[in-house]
């Protein structure tokens, strides 16, 4: 089954809010070896002008991938998850993700391209707080490898 090119340009409704927790930030920071105290110590984070501890630069993927999941599991998308390979990822941070944030994501399928039997899909997750403050734009390209 080929990926449905008709999905290019489609947007999904906002996701349910993701609550950014201090301990999840700590766990993620430890997992990627990010030892900046700004991920662990609220007082030091405040001293640098942040409201609370902030997430490492790639933490946004956790929320963005939940956002992208809507498209991947959409039966009409034609995506075989077993053939999905992550090709490229980019984050533009409008401000650091901070403990206490309630984040919603709006997913847009930017493009669906065919290349030698494979499909390349670029999606954009606009992450913002429930109050509407933009936090991060996460762009992801996945390749769906051709079947044998």
């Amino acid at each position: 089954m080929v990926v449905n090119a008709g999905f290019a340009g489609r947007s999904y409704p906002p996701t349910a809010p993701y609550s950014v927790g201090r301990e999840k930030i700590r766990e993620f920071a430890e997992a990627v070896g990010a030892d900046d105290v700004v991920h662990f110590d609220r007082e030091q984070a405040r001293a640098r002008g942040y409201r609370d501890v902030i997430a490492p630069p790639t933490f946004a993927v956790l929320i963005a991938q939940q956002c992208e999941g809507q498209f991947i599991v959409d039966p009409e998308s034609g995506i075989d998850f077993g053939r999905l390979v992550h090709g490229e990822q980019r984050f533009v941070h409008h401000r650091p993700i901070t403990a206490g944030d309630e984040i919603v994501g709006v997913l847009t399928i930017d493009s669906v391209k065919a290349a030698g039997g494979n499909s390349m899909i670029t999606t954009r997750s606009e992450l913002s707080t429930i109050e509407g403050e933009p936090v991060c734009t996460a762009t992801s390209t996945v390749v769906i490898r051709a079947g044998e």
């Binding site: 999840k24 766990e27 993620f28 430890e30 997992a31 990627v32 070896g33 990010a34 030892d35 900046d36 105290v37 700004v38 991920h39 030091q44 640098r48 942040y50 902030i54 490492p56 630069p57 790639t58 993927v61 956790l62 991938q65 939940q66 077993g82 390979v85 992550h86 090709g87 490229e88 990822q89 980019r90 984050f91 533009v92 941070h93 650091p96 762009t139």
Partner: protein
Amino acid sequence: MSNVVPSINDVEVGQELPPHTIHIDRASLVRYTGASLDRNRLHWDERFARSVGLPDVIAHGMFTMGTAINVVSDWVGDAGRVLEYGARFTKPVVVPYEGGADVEATGVVTAVDTQARRATVELRVTCGSDKVLGRAIAIVALD
């Protein structure tokens, strides 16, 4: 770790950032699987990885990307100063049970914008002779 953010006036194109060696073993991948919620079997089940034609389990591309940016965060002195970060996943990092894998990450300043007080850093991230991230570029806010 110190929190001394470099001044834009002290940064120049061509400047090299202190490199990092990232040792990856199965425990690293299990930790990242839990933290990131990316539970794809490719990253922890070698029987499954081999069944889809890989030599062994592979690291999450986002794990490699997430650890490599520490080169930049450490240099800039505040992880919140990383404004933009992107990379292509060009080759998988294969992580054998015995010995794991070592990834080398280095960075070089490729552009300096004194007006906006921003610098662009290009990361070079390799495992053995493989370049595992391509076009790995970060933009940081300096003082």
